[in-house]
Symmetry: C2
Subunit: 366 residues, 2 copies
């Protein structure tokens, strides 16, 4: 079996895969309703929230779109904080639906500039909402989300968060930080296959929703609320198999304990970075305080052919990692360490890299 | 194991369920790309089309939303043909995104009135598109889609079709009928779990798409086209497990042969109707020419308590059927016979009904 070390989909434990193969039941029946209520309660524990929370059948990007279209109106001023591909995507979604978007952008590999965010908020009191990526998996940066949220909430703004590649692996206390809409994807820290987004909705978000005029049907929170509260259902037929699989996956997370899950991600990310540095690799995120605990990006230096590296790892070591996206294509490689991952997995990746790096040209140039 | 006889999700064959439990692979890798191209080609065979076809991670309703937002602009005149809940939903989606919708509505249990459609098209030359349900699973009606499509195409209109509960079970030759956008859902005739919509896009639909101004991001066909054509990928992480499962499911359909699959659905639907009539039941669709081959609706008559019937069937016979939706709640019961279904399955349902019907009050009143 190949070692899948991309930032999602991630490998799934045996119990989760087994649950995926359960026969269908009625998604409008009592048994499924109980299951929905049970997994929703467990998700809320991981989100550290008492807000409403919905399961949407779609990718993480669908959850991001839901976060935008449910609380905003065309013309609303939005401050988008982008530190990479996924921050740009969030801004793009808002723009697509008619928001008036100002972007505070950081250089690739750097986190959001909190001072720049403060200034942007001060300079335009008409800003209604802040949208931000918690963990930018395209560059391996984790943003200082608590600080950003404090600025936004102190200024009376809504804050919508793309926590697709952080929630469940990196501490993201939704209620403590006052996050209004938070979206994540099943294939990231949850040890689940892709196919669903999970989205929490605060009281402030509901207030905004009541007058929000962006068009929405499939992602509409009002419909999600009605079906969930009345019958533990979703308005449209959900990804039943994934709901089955959520039971063992969430039980594993809660049994390990949230603080322990976060500590394991911290420990394993550090082990990854230390191992890479020991091989002379240059971390793409220079300030390790902002290095992600779910994905590590590495700059291709000293003659390293990144595409060749990924190919050698895959063909000769059955280790699958990612390259760079868009403007970073060929310039970085990325190792995912989120969800179902242990020290042993990372040791295998590092051992493979040790042999593969020189084969892929590392060290052939200065 | 309970007999799941609702109009989706449907039971899945063992090979399909087994495929669902396969470990994750890279959704941006070559192996997955080949899989995507292979299942897409097979889907096109079932759609009987050479149009483009995309896999969207979402419910059937997501596919319907995609059909609307990709080819229309706010203000566009749309003729919606509704014969029930799903026809109303399609009209609703179009209205939500700003279309100017005229509805030609039939009474519950009756098919679309082709003459009324002709008149509506003639009376307003500004109509740009016709939207229509092929198989209305809320009432068990199959619409004369070929006739409707001919009217629409002869008049130079676009036609978008909700084939969620027909495609793969009832003949729906996309190219022969000139259907522009056709959406279906994995949990219906495909013998697959829910979680994906499959949508075909004609040349005329692409032309309309080029100037269509309804906002779209997640469902955007341009992004789907780009990722599929360049790399056999989807723009957002897809439901990988379902793509695995599509291989055996589509192979089963193609091995049985499309005409045989349609004939089996025809045969089994007839067997269902005959069996019901022999027990004194009243079919909700009076004209059997328009009775659906994937779901049969039955009027609760002669003292029958429909909810009690469904409960008895479930609790005492492990047979799960559906009730009526919205205004038909309590008034009809519905038996799904689509996808992985044989005569033996229907015999079990009919045998159970024979005992359950009098227990649920049938015959206690005139």
């Amino acid at each position: 079996m190949a070692q899948l070390r991309i930032p999602g989909p991630t490998p799934c434990p045996e119990e989760v895969l087994k649950a995926m193969s359960r026969q269908m039941i009625n998604h409008r029946g009592d048994e499924f309703g109980e299951m929905m209520r049970s997994v929703t309660a467990k998700l809320k524990t991981v989100f550290q929230t008492q807000n409403d929370l919905y399961l949407l059948t779609g990718s993480g990007t669908g959850g991001m779109e839901a976060a935008i279209v449910n609380v905003l109106s065309p013309g609303d001023k939005v401050l988008a904080i982008s530190v990479g591909v996924f921050g740009d995507r969030f801004a793009n979604i808002a723009r697509t639906y008619g928001a008036d978007v100002t972007v505070v952008k950081s250089e690739d590999g750097k986190p959001a500039d909190v001072d720049a965010v403060r200034k942007a908020l001060q300079s335009d009191p008409k800003i209604k909402a802040v949208i931000v990526t918690h963990n930018e998996s395209s560059t391996g940066v984790v943003n200082p989300l608590g600080d950003i949220a404090k600025l936004a909430k102190d200024a009376g703004k809504l804050i919508m968060v793309d926590a697709v590649s952080s929630m469940g692996g990196i501490d993201c206390p939704v209620d403590k930080w006052g996050l209004d809409v938070v979206a994540t994807g099943s294939q990231k820290c949850w040890m689940l296959p892709p196919g669903m987004a999970f989205v929490s909705v605060s009281k402030d978000a509901w207030k905004a929703h009541a007058t929000a005029k962006m068009p929405r049907f499939y992602w509409d929170f009002t419909r999600a609320k009605k079906f969930y509260e009345e019958k533990g259902q979703t308005p449209w037929t959900p990804n039943v198999s994934l709901v089955y699989a959520m039971q063992p996956a969430l039980d594993m997370i809660l049994k390990e304990g949230l603080p322990n899950v976060f500590a394991r991600h911290t420990r394993i990310a550090k082990m990854t970075r230390e191992g890479l540095k020991a091989m002379g690799q240059t971390l793409f995120v220079a300030d390790e305080k902002y290095a992600s605990n779910t994905v590590t990006a590495v700059t291709a230096t000293k003659g390293l052919d990144q595409k060749k590296l990924n190919k050698i790892l895959r063909d000769e070591f059955q280790v699958v990692i990612s390259g760079g996206q868009q403007n970073l294509e060929g310039k970085i490689y990325r190792i995912g360490h989120l969800g179902w991952v242990t020290e042993k997995d990372i040791k295998e990746v590092l051992d493979a890299l040790k042999i593969a790096l020189p084969k892929a040209g590392f060290g052939s140039a200065k």
